[in-house]
C-alpha cells in the first residue's frame, strides 16, 4: 500500500487553526526562521482516516486473535480503562499543577503504590520508570547509591546474571556502569548453584534474576540463592517480567529480593500499543527507600485524605524521567488491579493452568528441554523438526500466521536451540487454546509431509517473508520523496503525454 507521503497532494489539509490576524505580528529573526517547510503529508481528514484504518488492517493485536508471545504477557486489555484514562480530570491535568489541584492524581498514585507494595511484599515504591528496562536501570542506580552510602562502591563492581536472562538485564548493567558476570543453568532449569557459589564474593554488587525464569520455571533453590547473595553483602534484583505467574501466590520480597521492577504493561494490562507505552515501577526493601527517585508521593494528612510530592530527599539518585512517571499507564493498571483485588491470585492461577494445559498438549510433538510443570509460560524446541525435516522455529512461527495466530517468542531464551516460548495468559478460553494446539500439531505434521509449505510461509498475510538482511545492509529508514528507491518497481511510469479522449 502507499505511504501517507505518496497520498499527499499540495494544497490539501485536514486541520484548521485559529488565527488572530488583528493581533500584533511577532517577529522571528531571519537567521532563526525556517527557510523551507518540512514535507509533512498534505491530505484531508477522510484520507487520513482511511490511510490509518488501512494500516490497522495490516496489523494484528490481541483484539484480532491469540497472541502467545512469551515473556510479553499479551492479555486482554479492558476497554473501560481506555475510557477512564480519557477522563478530562486525568487527560488534561498538567504535571506541574499545584498539589491541591492534583489530589485525585496523587491519591491514585498513592493507592497504586500501596497495591504494588502488597503484591511484591516490599516496603517502598517509585512509579517513575517508564518501562521494565528503565526500572532495571533505576534499580541498578539504587544499588550503586546504596553501596556508595556504605563506602563499598569501589569494591562492588559486578552484577551476576543467569544465561537465561532477558537481554535488557546485561544491557542495563552496562548502562549503569557495572560489569556482567554470567552464571549457568542446571539440568533442571534452575540457576546452577554450584557455579553461582564460585561467582559471588566481596566484589559482587547484585544478582539480577527473573523468577519464574524465562524458561517458565520457578527456581526451586531461590532461598539458598538469596542466602548466598545476602551472605556476601550483595543485593537481590527481581526482573518482574514474569510476575503474572505468582501474584498472591509468592512475593518477590518473601523470596529474598530487595529491588523489584513491575511491568505494568504485562501483568497489569496496560495495552502494549504496538511497542509501548509501558510502565516499570520499582519496589524496594526499606534500606533502599532513601535512594528512590524524586519526587516521591507522600500522605500529607490521612484524616483529610490529602497527598503531596516530596522533593526533599538528600540521598535520592535523582530523576530517571520527567515528573512522576507515565500517569496514564498508572490509571489503566490501577483500574485493572481494582477489578481483581485479592482475586489477583485467581488471575495467576488461571495463567499457570492455561500454560500447563497447552504444554501438556504439545510436548509430544515438540521437544521439551526441561520436563517439569511450568508456570505462566513454557519453552519448547523445534530441534526435532529441524533434525528430521529441515524445518526450524522461524518456519513454524511463520506458518502459525497462516492459521491466524501471532507466533510465540522464538530463539529465546538463548540456551534453548530453536526455542518456541509460549505464554497463553489467563484471559484465553479453553476453545482458543485447543484451536491453537491443533494448529501447532498440524504444523508439526506438515513439517514431515510438506516442509516447503513451512519454509515459504506465511502465505496468507499481506506480505510474504521479508528480507531483513537487505534492510540492514542498505538501510532505508525514511521516505526520500522524489529520490526514494523504487524497491518493488511498483511506481507507475510517468506518462509522456496526458491521456486524451477518455
Amino acid at each position: 500500500m502507499k505511504l501517507i507521503y505518496e497520498r499527499s497532494q499540495p494544497g490539501r489539509r485536514a486541520s484548521a487553526i485559529p488565527r488572530h490576524d488583528d493581533l500584533p505580528k511577532a517577529e522571528v529573526p531571519d537567521d532563526l526562521r525556517r527557510a523551507e517547510p518540512p514535507r509533512l503529508p498534505e491530505v484531508t481528514e477522510l484520507e487520513l482516516v482511511r490511510h490509518f484504518t488501512e494500516l490497522s488492517t495490516r496489523n494484528f493485536g490481541i483484539d484480532n486473535g491469540f497472541y502467545p508471545l512469551g515473556s510479553c504477557t499479551m492479555k486482554y486489555n479492558p476497554r473501560i480503562n481506555e475510557r477512564l484514562v480519557g477522563l478530562p480530570g486525568f487527560a488534561n491535568l498538567h504535571p506541574l499543577q499545584e498539589e491541591d489541584g492534583a489530589q485525585g492524581a496523587l491519591e491514585l498514585e498513592w493507592r497504586l503504590q500501596e497495591i504494588l507494595r502488597e503484591v511484591t511484599g516490599l516496603h517502598a515504591v517509585s512509579l517513575q520508570p517508564a518501562a521494565g528496562s528503565q526500572g532495571e536501570l533505576t534499580g541498578l542506580m539504587l544499588v550503586r547509591a546504596y553501596f556508595v552510602d556504605r563506602g563499598e562502591a569501589e569494591q562492588r563492581r559486578k552484577v551476576v546474571i543467569p544465561d537465561t536472562a532477558h537481554g535488557t538485564n546485561p544491557a542495563s548493567v552496562t548502562m549503569a556502569g557495572y560489569e556482567v558476570v554470567g552464571v549457568k543453568t542446571d539440568p533442571r532449569g534452575n540457576v546452577d548453584v554450584d557455579d553461582l557459589r564460585t561467582k559471588v564474593d566481596e566484589t559482587t554488587a547484585a544478582l539480577m534474576l527473573t523468577n519464574p525464569s524465562t524458561l517458565g520455571l520457578f527456581d526451586e533453590n531461590i532461598e539458598e540463592i538469596a542466602e548466598i547473595f545476602h551472605g556476601a553483602g550483595a543485593l537481590m534484583y527481581y526482573d518482574g517480567a514474569n510476575l503474572n505467574a505468582v501474584c498472591g501466590i509468592s512475593r518477590p520480597g518473601d523470596m529474598g529480593f530487595d529491588i523489584v521492577h513491575i511491568n505494568l504493561h504485562k501483568t497489569f494490562s496496560q495495552p502494549h500499543g504496538g511497542g509501548g507505552p509501558g510502565g516499570g515501577p520499582i519496589a524496594v526493601r526499606d534500606m533502599l527507600e532513601p535512594f528512590l527517585p524524586v519526587p516521591t508521593v507522600v500522605v500529607r494528612d490521612p484524616e483529610a485524605n490529602t497527598y503531596g510530592l516530596d522533593f526533599d530527599r538528600p540521598k535520592s539518585i535523582g530523576k530517571v524521567r520527567g515528573y512522576t512517571g507515565p500517569f496514564g499507564v498508572f490509571v489503566r493498571s490501577y483500574a485493572f488491579m481494582r477489578m481483581y483485588g485479592p482475586r489477583l491470585r485467581e488471575m495467576s492461577e488461571a495463567a499457570v493452568l492455561n500454560a500447563n494445559y497447552v504444554l501438556a498438549r504439545l510436548k509430544d510433538a515438540y521437544e521439551l528441554p526441561f520436563d517439569r510443570l511450568c508456570m505462566h509460560e513454557f519453552v519448547l524446541s523445534a530441534r526435532n523438526l529441524k533434525r528430521e525435516y529441515g524445518v526450524n522455529a522461524l518456519d513454524v512461527a511463520k506458518r502459525l500466521m497462516d492459521y491466524g495466530y501471532h507466533p510465540p517468542t522464538i530463539y529465546f531464551p538463548l540456551i534453548v536451540p530453536e526455542a518456541l516460548m509460549v505464554e497463553p495468559t489467563e484471559t484465553e478460553a479453553k476453545e482458543t487454546l485447543d484451536a491453537f494446539c491443533d494448529a501447532m500439531l498440524a504444523i508439526a505434521r506438515e513439517a514431515s509431509e510438506d516442509p516447503e509449505l513451512l519454509k515459504t510461509a506465511p502465505h496468507e498475510r499481506p506480505v510474504r517473508r521479508l528480507d531483513e538482511v537487505r534492510a540492514a545492509k542498505q538501510p532505508v529508514v525514511k521516505y526520500a520523496f522524489d529520490e526514494h528507491p523504487d524497491l518493488d518497481g511498483s511506481r507507475p511510469p510517468v506518462a509522456a503525454e496526458a491521456p486524451k479522449g477518455v
Binding site: 486541520s15 509533512l40 482516516v49 496489523n59 493485536g61 486525568f90 548502562m175 520527567g322 477489578m339 500466521m401
Partner: protein
C-alpha cells in the same frame, strides 16, 4: 465465582487439570518452596465491578483541577495544545492498541509502516537523516544523546546550558555516573546562552546540549551555539519543541549532530506527565550508535515492498551487554499519535500553529505589561510561546491567589532558578484566546504586587 476477564469454567478447569495430570490447581505450584509462599490472601480491597470502578475513578478525576476546569497558562515542558479527534480514533483501533513490538513483520506491517512514516516526519521536522521509533520522553532522549556522544567522541564531558529545562538536566545528571560522564553547566546571560562562553566550556566535550526555545521561552542564538560545539568537535545536541519547527529553523539546517525533543505538544494529552514520546534524530554517521527501534524498508519473497525492524545488532536482545541501549518497550502508540497529529496539521497547519502561538504570546506580553503593569524578565529577547515575567512578590503566592480566581497563571520557576522567586513562566498555546489572555491580565493585575 466468575470474573469478566477470566473465561475458564469449572468443567474447563477439571478437564485441563486431567490433561496436565494433576488433581488441583495448587499442585501446579509444587515447585515453589513452602518458605516463600504467601500463606494468606492478598490484603487488598475487594474486587469492583466495572460500574463501581468507573464511579471510583470518576471521583478521583474530579479531585483534579485540569485545564478544562481552570484557565491554564502552565507550560515549562508540557503544553496544552489541541489534540484533534482523529488522534483518538486511530489510537483506539485495537489492531494498534493491543499489538506489541513488531518482532514478526508479516503480522505487523501496519505499525511498521506507521513507524517508518513517523521516522520520516521527525526527520523532516528536524532536518536530520535518521530517527528512531521513539524514546520514553523528552528527558530520557537527552540522556540517550549524551550516551551516543560519549561513544562517538571517546570523550566524557557533557556541556549543558543552564537555560535547559531542569527536568531534562536532572535526568541527564542522574544517568551520567553510570555512563561515566561528567556534566558541566553553562549559565545563561540575560535569558540566553553566550556563544563565546559556551565555546570556552566546550573544549574536550563529548556533547554540547541546549534547548530551543529554552526554558524561559527565549530563542537561543542556535546557529552560533552549534558553531561553538562544532569548533570543539563536540556533538551539538539541540532539544527542540516540535511545534516550533514550522516557524523556527530545523536543527539539521544549522549543523546540529543530534536533535531530540518532547513529543507531547504534538499529539499527546498532558496526562499529568505521561505517557508521551521522546523523539531522537541524528545525522547518518550516528545511525549505528542510535538507541531503540528503527524501522527500515525492504522487499518480501515476492519482491513486494514491506517494512521490518532493522539494524537490530545495536539492540539488547542481540548484543546484550554490548548494546547501544537497554530500551525495549518504547512509546510507539504515542509516537503514532504524533504522526497522526502531524499528518492532520500538514506543513501549512504546523506553520500556522507556530504563528498563532507567537502572536498570542506577544499579545499576552503586551497585556501583562500594560494592564497588569508587570515587567518581562528578559525584555530584549525574542520568545516563542512562553515567557518569564516578574510578579513583584513570591510567584507561588501569586499562583495560589490567581487560582482562587479560576486562573492558573503559569509556573513559579523560582523552584528551579535562584533569584527568580518572583518570576512566573507563562505559556500561551493556540488553544488560548485573546479574551482568555485579557482575563489573565485582569487577574494578575489584581493579585500581583
Amino acid at each position: 465465582m466468575t470474573h469478566p476477564y477470566l473465561p475458564l469454567t469449572e468443567a474447563d478447569r477439571d478437564e485441563m487439570l486431567a490433561a496436565v495430570g494433576v488433581d488441583s490447581v495448587d499442585a501446579l505450584f509444587a515447585d515453589i518452596p513452602a518458605g516463600v509462599r504467601l500463606d494468606r490472601e492478598l490484603a487488598l480491597e475487594p474486587a469492583l465491578t466495572e460500574q463501581e470502578l468507573a464511579a471510583h475513578l470518576g471521583r478521583l478525576a474530579a479531585r483534579n483541577a485540569d485545564t478544562t476546569k481552570e484557565l491554564s497558562f502552565l507550560g515549562a515542558g508540557i503544553y496544552d495544545h489541541y489534540v484533534p479527534a482523529v488522534v483518538d480514533a486511530v489510537l483506539q483501533r485495537g489492531e494498534f492498541l493491543t499489538a506489541y513490538t513488531p518482532y514478526q513483520p508479516e503480522m505487523s506491517q501496519g505499525v511498521l509502516q506507521a513507524i517508518f512514516e513517523y521516522q520520516t516526519a521527525i526527520c523532516e521536522l528536524t532536518g536530520m537523516d535518521v530517527s528512531n521509533a521513539s524514546g520514553y520522553d523528552g528527558t530520557t532522549v537527552a540522556a540517550d544523546a549524551c550516551f551516543i556522544a560519549k561513544h562517538a567522541t571517546g570523550r566524557s564531558r557533557i556541556v549543558v546550558t543552564e537555560a535547559t529545562n531542569p527536568q531534562i538536566r536532572h535526568v541527564v545528571k542522574t544517568y551520567a555516573p553510570g555512563f561515566g560522564l561528567e556534566v558541566v553547566e553553562v549559565p545563561h546571560r540575560g535569558g540566553t546562552t553566550d556563544p563565546d562562553e559556551l565555546r570556552r566550556a566546550s573544549v574536550d566535550a563529548a556533547a554540547v546540549f541546549f534547548q530551543q526555545p529554552n526554558v524561559f521561552g527565549c530563542l537561543e542564538p542556535a546557529p552560533d551555539l552549534v558553531a561553538a560545539a562544532n569548533d570543539a568537535e563536540a556533538l551539538a545536541v539541540a532539544h527542540v519543541d516540535p511545534l516550533s519547527l514550522g516557524v523556527l529553523e530545523a536543527p539539521g539546517r544549522y549543523g546540529a549532530a543530534i536533535a531530540v525533543g518532547e513529543g507531547q505538544a504534538a499529539g499527546n494529552f498532558p496526562s499529568y506527565g505521561g505517557p508521551h514520546y521522546g523523539f531522537l534524530a541524528a545525522r547518518q554517521n550516528y545511525i549505528r550508535r542510535m538507541p531503540g527501534r528503527i524501522v527500515g524498508e525492504t522487499v518480501d519473497a515476492a519482491g513486494k515492498r514491506g517494512y521490518v525492524l532493522t539494524l537490530q545488532t545495536r539492540e539488547q536482545h542481540i548484543r546484550r551487554e554490548k548494546a547501544t541501549s537497554n530500551i525495549t518497550t518504547n512509546q510507539t502508540l504515542l509516537a503514532l499519535g504524533g504522526l497522526v497529529y502531524l499528518t492532520w496539521l500538514g506543513p501549512q497547519g504546523l506553520r500556522e500553529v507556530g504563528e498563532t502561538c507567537l502572536s498570542l504570546a506577544a499579545y499576552a506580553q503586551q497585556r501583562l505589561r500594560e494592564r497588569a503593569k508587570l515587567e518581562l524578565v528578559f525584555p530584549e529577547r525574542t520568545t516563542f510561546k512562553e515567557f518569564a515575567v516578574r510578579v513583584g512578590r513570591n510567584a507561588r503566592e501569586v499562583v495560589a491567589a490567581a487560582r482562587a480566581l479560576g486562573v492558573h497563571p503559569g509556573y513559579a520557576i523560582g523552584r528551579d532558578y535562584e533569584g527568580m522567586d518572583d518570576v512566573l513562566l507563562v505559556a500561551v498555546t493556540e488553544k488560548r484566546t485573546p479574551e482568555e489572555i485579557d482575563r489573565l491580565a485582569d487577574v494578575l493585575a489584581e493579585v500581583a504586587a
